[in-house]
């Protein structure tokens, strides 16, 4: 692109605005506008409702940021949902014995551990991440069920509950602060730090990355640890908001997270990542969910409409990507 000051031609502008990476924003605005019109008598278009959406979506957003790391290196991590439950349960149990900082540390450690195990198994055995994480997902869920005795483990610590759940800071829900913080960290790591550059290199062309001296195995393991760690953070946020931990937490989130990340413009096959896209994508999923519930549709109609919106989004996105 020439950087001369002469004005861009119309087609240049069109080409810029139609870049596939912007597509998610249009989709988001479109869905938002659609619901705002359709639900104008319901309080949908209100700050309180948007805060609801952000609060409900916070764990999804952070998982989406985490999954972006795994996808960057060309791995998928199916175990994130189970890590959410594990981390929440570990945190809730530890809270019965130790203070908040140690409980949080323990929960995060459980996430890191799972990431390391996933990473080592995938890289040592050279087996697809899909299969390994499918396996660890089962193992972790089993452990969570066992440890919790299938019961909900309540959290009564007020600090934990406000810090990671329903508290406010400067009039803004802490969950929004957490979401924005991790989104920012994810963005900076991916776009400004050498680590993110290497993740993308490994995902974009592993042979080339190795030839340039990158230790691809280590980088992939680190990516999986980041992914698991984010899932563990999401687990803590769930635990804080629900004031308890249960082995079913996160169970239903995997597909939502994958959809959010993919709609946001991240390649499911590695090398191309959009953190902002993942955040907006997760909010879009939350927005659709919230709007559909408010619409008064039956559960069946909600499922059908959600499916239609998603397919439309992906179809338009795929077209734009091809045209670009």
């Amino acid at each position: 692109m020439s950087t001369t000051t002469s004005s861009l031609t119309r087609s240049d502008w069109a080409a810029r605005l139609l870049k596939p990476q912007y597509f998610i924003y249009y989709m988001f605005m479109l869905v938002l506008a659609g619901f705002a019109l359709f639900l104008n008598d319901t309080g949908f278009f209100s700050l309180a409702n948007f805060m609801n959406i952000v609060r409900q979506t916070a764990p999804i957003t952070i998982m989406a940021v985490g999954l972006s790391f795994a996808l960057a290196v060309g791995h998928i991590d199916l175990s994130i949902g189970s890590v959410v439950a594990l981390s929440a349960i570990v945190g809730a149990i530890l809270l019965q014995y130790v203070g908040v900082p140690l409980a949080i540390a323990g929960a995060l450690l459980s996430g890191v551990l799972v990431g390391l195990i996933n990473g080592f198994l995938i890289e040592r055995l050279k087996v697809s991440s899909l299969l390994i994480t499918l396996g660890t997902m089962g193992i972790i869920t089993g452990i969570s069920r066992q440890v919790s005795g299938l019961e909900s483990i309540p959290i009564i610590d007020p600090l934990f509950r406000s810090l990671l759940g329903n508290g406010d800071l400067l009039g803004v829900p802490v969950l929004l602060w957490w979401t924005l913080s991790f989104a920012l960290i994810g963005y900076l790591v991916m776009n400004k730090l050498v680590f993110g550059r290497h993740l993308l290199a490994v995902g974009g062309n592993p042979e080339a990355a190795r030839a340039m001296g990158l230790r691809t195995e280590n980088i992939r393991i680190k990516a999986l640890v980041m992914c698991s760690l984010c899932a563990a953070i999401a687990g803590l946020l769930y635990a804080g908001r629900m004031a308890g931990a249960r082995y079913t937490l996160g169970e239903a989130d995997l597909l939502t997270v994958i959809a959010a990340v993919a709609i946001g413009g991240t390649s499911l096959f590695g090398g191309r990542v959009s953190i902002i896209g993942a955040v907006i994508g997760s909010w879009l999923m939350g927005l659709i969910n919230n709007g559909l519930i408010l619409s008064g549709f039956s559960t069946d109609e909600q499922m059908i409409t959600r499916g239609l919106i998603l397919i439309t989004a992906v179809a338009i996105g795929a077209r734009e990507a091809k045209n670009a």
Partner: protein
Amino acid sequence: MLRNELSQTILEVKEITKRFGGVEALRGVSFKVNKGEVVGLLGDNGAGKSTLVRCISGIHPPDEGEILIAGKAVKLDSPMDARKAGIETVFQDLAIIPEFDVVQNLYLNREILSTNPVLRWLGWLDAKAMAKRSQKSLNRLSSRIPSLSEKIVNLSGGQRQAVAIARAVSWGAEIVIMDEPTAALGVEQSAQVNELIKLISSQGVAVLLISHNMQHIMETCDRAVVLYQGRSSADVAIRDVDKNALVSLITGASGSLLAESA
């Protein structure tokens, strides 16, 4: 030697042997490359060219024999070792990241970090500095790459080759190994790459060129080393031979012509 008496040997390969299981891919290969010299490495498929390149670029360390850089024996256990020793390899598949732009590829794994100590500790990239220096190194090669922020996928084959070569020489490599650099290119772009090879060799960089294309070998190389069934079977000055002679050396039709005798 074939060039002049003052030539300095930059790379010397001595009696290299490499086995894969029971198969001996290389059985005692030896040759030398001088500073600023362009040496063609020839041989039929399976003669051991690729294995030899991989040994020199640190991907497969040899089982026996040694590699000397400027007279000193070096141990090349990884591509990083080779790079530190001043050997850069431009692979057939170029080893570039298609989704990255030119600068990002040039600086892959050698990124310039911010000068701010805190940011540096975090691994913060200094994108401006990298762009500036990339421009310089590409200028040095008078390249025709349209924009440094262009993604590699949007470049032509010749432009990609130029990026890969620029990456090699911009790191101060003394020896650049090129594996079939023109194989996938059209006539005009091949000519550009040949110019580039001549340019860098005139700047003192030794080039080891692997090619099937006799025409390019004849046009660009000073000397040719021929591998035959895992051995170095000939080492000849290009001005002393013609295409047909090279072909018969490659196919093993004419006997050994080793440089030691020259």
